[in-house]
Symmetry: C2
Subunit: 728 residues, 2 copies
């Protein structure tokens, strides 16, 4: 935690309060304090911003000029090598993960099914629920004790990081090779693209997901590098799958590059197929926004439980696990047994492996369609739902039960202290109701039920995650059916539009609930009515170009600011001159190295580049940075001076105080800043009147300064779920 522990504004505040506040009302509205806390995993973390801006001071410029071609080549080569390694490692991890899931969960279902065949139902339930319980316990203990940030899907955390939010729990294992936040950001972007690419074997979809959903900044070089990374993933995965096709991967043996192949040459649709597809889109939009709404509420309740102690967390996870086991084991008994079709495409009932026709409790020659869905891994369930030529395989009631089970179980199991995704549950849920709609439309349609399931999955993804291009490509890469593209686009269009009328993207809701100070792309309308001068709050801390050591130590110890303007004032210059900005971390390094001058004039011939190298100022991994509290200085040293000029960034971004907040936000976000200097519009005053940070752009901060804006009519118009809101 180290330097990141920041006292909240009121040190006597109820500790419980500080946890619940971000959940209930977003951020604390304390003017110009940097006290922001986020809930990462189930921990409360103080929040810092990241230094994405290139810091240009004399020392760094000299270092840069002195670099030879070889060093530049090495640097470039290193960046590409890291991308290659990320691609390689992520695809290995993804593959092993897939292999483990397919084999562990597959084995669990096979063993249970075999016991069911022998009609040892009690024993089967025990094996089923115990294996679930043990796996959950294992996962939640690891998560709770070792990597609390790993709970949940991780996507909101990465998204916040790429926006410039640094909650120290997010990346505990920061590589030491990368020296600055900017390079790290690029690698994290490539990594997130690679993650999606490996999880869904969708390399192009991975790049697009990183671009559309994750990244706050984008440049063409990054597109190129993340394409490289996912290409590595695609090639490595392809090689592994080649290996598996020869039957060496146990139950995973049939895994191809395309997960749910629904290609059928005969797919053709006409104008009359459009209305049911439109209906699917509308339903998907409503269900998706409802899903987001409920998930956020459940997360809020869970965080109340989780914050109590690790024991509570694990207890919660285990209870959910037992509840789930009972539900999953009990539900198939509701379904009536159906006779095996004569022309079944595979053995019926399916025994000893995953497949379409699970026997469960049924007599020989019969199968239980609900068990076929529930007693399979998620991947197999999706494959069942997407498959063509199976229009008569499922009953209406079974599909409906399965839909409700998935919908609510996935919401309730997300917030527990264990890593869990959103993508796959949403696809299963969407596929089941899509198939249900297909069954209702029945013979009036040219599309088979499997294709309806695909469109249903697309609509719920669109309604919950609100992406367009990347979802489109991911679905294409998952299902391998390009002919369906116009319909998928239509469904995504409709479901996103409908869902946007109710609430936001699921990842944004989770980020907000966790309290990350995320900078939105769009300025709120009231920001156009305010100027930056209206939100800057004092007092401004600044240093002189030649500053007394004691002053620096005092300011660093009493404030938590991370950037300080440097102003040269008389007598050192004729009139106030803005020299630039200096970072806290650099000041601490200077104090630690004790590069002091005995007098405030520069006759000593102080040479920065001789005493320091750029490496001295490279950012350490989080938690390893020096703290001001650790530096001991003698009384005599406190009276000495430091020449800050060589370490001052002479290229600070600035705005005039009359600049509208909306335009300042645009600059802040597009360029990726941490500090923005506010300069006066009148020449004669001090060259800097304030400093803007991420915090100053947060709606909560602005509204606390200007409460009359709260009720202004510029709020985004949205429908609410009024009845549901009362439940929570």
């Amino acid at each position: 935690m180290s330097r990141f522990i920041i006292s909240t504004a009121d040190p006597n505040a109820d500790p419980e309060d500080s946890v619940t506040v971000p959940l209930l009302s977003g951020l604390r509205s304390v003017p110009n304090s940097s006290s922001q806390v986020a809930i990462v995993g189930v921990n409360v973390c103080p929040i810092e911003s990241l230094d994405y801006e290139i810091f240009e001071n004399e020392l760094f410029k000299q270092d840069w000029r002195s670099r030879g071609k070889l060093q530049i080549f090495q640097y470039t080569f290193m960046k590409w090598l890291l991308c290659f390694l990320i691609g390689l490692i992520v695809s290995l991890v993804g593959f092993c993960n897939n292999l483990a899931v397919e084999n562990l969960a597959g084995m669990k279902f096979v063993v249970t099914s075999n016991m069911m065949l022998e009609r040892r139902f009690g024993m089967a339930f025990l094996v089923f629920s115990m294996s679930n319980f043990v796996l959950t316990l294992f996962a939640s203990i690891i998560t709770a004790f070792i990597a609390p940030a790993a709970s949940g899907s991780g996507i909101p955390e990465v998204k916040a990081y790429l926006n410039g939010v640094d909650a120290p729990g997010i990346f505990t294992l920061r590589t030491l090779v990368v020296k600055n936040d900017r390079d790290r950001r690029d690698l994290v972007t490539c990594g997130s693209a690679a993650g999606i690419a490996a999880a869904f074997r969708a390399p192009v979809g991975g790049v697009l997901f990183a671009l559309e959903e994750m990244a706050s900044w984008w440049r063409s070089a990054l597109l190129w590098r993340s394409f490289f990374t996912t290409a590595v993933v695609a090639l490595v995965l392809r090689a592994f799958i080649d290996l598996c096709l020869s039957g060496k991967c146990g139950l995973f043996g049939t895994g191809g590059l395309i997960m749910f192949d629904v290609y059928s040459e005969s797919v053709s649709y006409h104008l009359e197929d459009v209305p049911p597809v439109l209906a699917l889109g509308v339903i998907g939009g409503i269900l998706g926004s409802l899903y987001n709404f409920l998930l956020e509420k459940v997360l809020r309740i869970y965080s109340l439980i989780n914050e109590k102690s690790i024991g509570y967390k694990i207890f919660l996870a285990c209870s959910i696990s037992i509840f789930t086991s009972c539900l999953l084991f009990g539900l198939p008994w509701l379904a009536t047994c159906r006779p095996c079709p004569a022309d079944a495409s595979e053995a019926c009932p399916t025994i000893g492996r995953s497949g379409n026709y699970k026997k469960f409790q049924c007599p020989p020659g019969y199968y239980n369609d609900l068990a076929s869905l529930i007693f399979n891994t998620n991947d197999d369930a999706i494959r069942n739902l997407f498959s063509k030529g199976t229009d008569n395989e499922f009953q209406h009631s079974s599909i409906l039960i399965f839909f409700f089970t998935c919908f609510f179980l996935s919401i309730f199991s997300y917030g527990v202290v264990a890593p869990a995704g959103l993508f796959v549950p949403v696809i299963v849920t969407g596929a089941s109701y899509g198939r249900f709609v297909g069954m209702l439309v029945g013979p009036h349609s040219n599309l088979n039920h499997g294709l309806y399931a695909v469109l249903g999955a697309a609509s719920l993804l669109g309604g919950s995650m609100r992406m367009t291009v990347s979802l489109c490509v991911i679905i294409l890469e998952l299902t391998n059916n390009l002919l369906l593209l116009p319909l998928i686009m239509l469904v995504l269009l409709v479901s996103k539009t409908v869902a946007d009328a109710f609430n936001g993207n699921i990842y944004d809701l989770i980020m907000k609930a966790k309290g990350f100070p995320y900078l939105e792309t769009h300025a709120e309308p009231y920001m156009r009515q305010l100027s930056v001068g209206d939100v800057v709050t004092g007092p401004l801390q600044l240093f002189h170009g030649i500053e007394k050591v004691g002053n620096i130590v005092h300011v660093l110890r009493t404030t938590r600011h991370n950037g300080f303007p440097i102003i040269d004032e008389p007598p050192h210059s004729e009139c106030p001159v803005l020299s630039g900005i200096i970072l806290r971390a650099h000041l601490v390094t200077l104090l630690k190295k004790k590069a002091f001058l005995s007098t405030p004039d520069l006759t000593g011939g102080f040479n920065a580049s001789k005493q320091f190298s750029a490496g001295d100022f490279a950012k350490r991994s989080s938690g390893n940075d020096e703290k001001i509290e650790d530096i001991d200085l003698s009384e005599e040293e406190m009276e000495m001076f430091i020449d800050l000029h060589p370490f001052t960034n002479a290229s600070p971004y600035t705005v005039v105080e009359t600049m509208s907040l909306a335009k300042a936000l645009l600059l802040f976000r597009e360029v990726g800043l941490r500090h923005l200097l506010v300069i006066p519009k009148i020449s004669s005053r001090s060259p800097v009147v304030g400093i803007l940070t991420r915090h100053d752009f947060m709606p909560e901060h602005i509204l606390s300064l200007h409460p009359m804006l709260v009720r202004s009519r510029w709020k985004r118009l949205r429908f609410r779920f009024p009845a549901l809101s009362k439940l929570f």
Copy 2:
């Protein structure tokens, strides 16, 4: 042309010189004059920047506040409606275009082939060459007289426009509905996405192309809107194709949603297939960069011819047409006739329609494989090359001849005064050499020759256009083979990397040759060594908040600046105050409306919002703006005053003079600016020391100010084509 005609720096300069200069040395290096010319089509156009920045003055703010919800809704609805219309119109145009090409060109080939069947070779040649000649003449006359900007592919022009470059020839038909450059930019982006979507029936590829290659700025809202537009395209096209499948579209009858379907379930490849694919990538990279190099040189020669007169232009186009006809008709005679295979998938020889086996001059039962490629439309030639199960259909020599023909013909026919694309010719060329490589590798590979052709097309596209994700998706959408994805990614990766070592992206080369002042994403390394103070050149023109009419008129008449800082100075204020910036167009409107004050003090109670509405300042379509020369003012009026405050943008973007040029460029480009105010670092001076525009960031301008940087070692390392360079 109107206000866009800007005299070049030296009015006595040879007019020919002003045309050739941008081609030969990029831009003129005249310090701080806005005299930039571009060659759009074959016309020389003066260049302006676009006002993408939101202009925030009191009047607009008041107008914005007074808007009701209905108006905001109307505005939003209008934007979506326009996107819908763009999608609809583009898909209609694209479809009709396709229909016309397939039927016109198809008919030409069928008629010629029929004459060949009757062995009337002379007549066949006459029909063939005359129809080519007439079509070319028609196209070039239309282009030369009506829409000179339509020559070439149009993509470089749109790319420059989206970067903020406004050469008036680019969009002659500016819609009057859209009132500002910012909204227009969004629509142009959506339009370009729709264009690619319609041309290749690749809706997702279209969005990505617009994102990766065209757009200089991007926001998620734009992704969403362009996705909407291309979804409309996809649905409309799908409906038309449905119509055509019932056989109502003549020769176009078989056009499906996927243009070149190469789906084959049996596609499987292993490690031993990687080396030939890598080789394809390397060759594609070299050929692609060579293609770009040659195309640029040819464009340069053509522009020397084209600038002479319209007659020369049309003559050039017609000569190229005749030369092409002779070549295409003569070449198939070189190929030996091959006997029809016994198990041919279609009738051999193919008679009366396009197809795989053209008879040409061959005896019955034989076919001419080169004629099968040449005497088909481009689409059919690609389909032939991509087709599977045709590994024995082509001879090595025929494919090689076809490759060279395509490679050079497409280069020579691009620069003539007629609309021409680059995508399809590059695909044909790439497919032919890919197929050739496939034939060389032959039985040692698991991939059939058709798949090699696909990979070859990918490699040449990658080598010439240097896109990654969008090309990947476009190729997938064209060929419908997702299993090939890892190999396509590999090929694109290698070909782009190889080609980047030689030269730039083809569209960038064309833009440079045309003289567009395009702002690059990356700052040149020497920009990090310069501060903005080093490139700002005087004298700075500024106005006071209350300014004399005569002064304004004088400055507007004697300079061509488009933005003027407004400074309030004593006695109107105690010390100099930076009020903001005002645009030339707004000043002209004020002068025209004659909203003058008789005295320089504000006792008159001047009320801007009563006299003006925001609509008065909306940007007209180009050429319709008022000019300062058209405004007549009496001697008395010249002595009056204007209060500029309500029309001043109080939110100008600013940089300190010590800011490094690289960081200022980042701001300028990321935020999309036209003017950037430079403020002094010392408080006591005037609040503004200069103004930066696009021109000040152009390497040519900077290097003319600091010639010692030309030979600095920071230039990008690239291999050259030394021997070839001497040829031109």
